[in-house]
Amino acid sequence: MAHAHTISAEQPKHMGLPLSNGKLAMWLFLVTEIMFFTGLIGTYIILRNGSRAWPSPHEVHLVEWMGALNTFVLICSSLTVVLAHSAIAQGDVKKTSMYIAVTLVLGCVFMGIKAVEYNAKFSHDILPGHIGDGLQGPAGIVYLDRVRGQLEEITKSKDDIKGKAECAGLLKKLPNLTPAALGKEVKELLEKHEDLHLTPAIDSGNIWASCYFAMTGFHACHVLGGLVIFVIILVLAMRNKLGVQHTSMIELTGLYWHFVDIVWIFLFPLLYLV
């Protein structure tokens, strides 16, 4: 007996979200990363607004144009990664490889500039726990002792150090100085002779340094993770194994990289500008 074949007017039902598993997973991961960086950035905002004073970029050797350059580098890398995705979707593996290589280079440039900035902090002793702040309290005695040791080392050194005479003069005055007054003297000395190895006295300097290294350090780790993925993609390309089947992989890598860019878009003004 033949059954009448009816044409169903119902829409076919779908299982799950209209989204690939990979994309859903990547967005879930990015949401956790949003919360991670929100914790860091939110803490920085709270601590900064809860402090009586906050270091200026000049005091902590932050150079605004370097931050702006890094922002530009990451924006360029975001463009190249999205162009790489566009290229692989059209099956152009050569162009994809080129764009990924450029993204990798730009990421390395970002890390290079970051290394230069970190070196400026290390060489001027702008490190958490190293900076003289809260000098009116017990930390002032510790600061006094530390600077005394540094001044003695400079004056006893046989090297031709700029500012040695001023350091000798400050060492003589030291017994009559309060920690806060010493901090001011050291600040003036460092304005004249930047390369002197003296612990600077900066209000809220230690908390600034903690926030700075936490935020930019974790961001740099994320950039490094992205660079590793780009290297993997380039290795695939060199082995002629990269193809249109990797469109999703490159899209997801791009999503991660754009997120890293967005974090820096907020870090740059918060740390360097406002």
Binding site: H14, M15, S20, W27, W65, I75
Partner: protein, 117 residues
């Protein structure tokens, strides 16, 4: 016997999204890139002109940062196409983020604290 025809959406097969390259084209990407560069220069100039610590400067610079982030999210991350598919993941995080700051603000920023004499 009725037969509910259940199909797997193409998007969940393997790793290749069926709509892999819907959305903005190369021209759109280049326009967004140019806008991002202009915004970066504007925020740098606003800082130079208004100085650090000025409220107007803060509002302008953070407003520019939000615009830049929105452009990257909408066009580079294709949320202009995918928003309806992922908004339920992103909106809670965007709510909780500012909440963290608001919750801590009274105790740490506004509260009385001792001042060294």
């Amino acid at each position: 016997m009725s037969d509910d025809h259940i199909t797997e959406p193409a998007a969940s097969h393997g790793g290749h999204d069926a709509h892999a390259h819907e959305g903005p084209n190369v021209t759109a990407y280049l326009v967004v890139f140019s806008a991002l560069c202009v915004f970066t220069i504007l925020s740098f100039l606003a800082n130079a002109a208004l100085g650090r610590g000025a409220i107007a400067g803060f509002i302008i610079i953070m407003g520019i940062a939000l615009c830049k982030a929105a452009l990257v999210i909408a066009y580079f991350m294709h949320l202009i196409v995918d928003w309806r598919k992922v908004y339920f993941l992103i909106v809670p995080a965007l709510v909780l983020g500012p909440m963290l700051v608001i919750v801590l603000w009274p105790d740490i920023v506004l509260a009385w604290r001792p001042v060294w004499e």
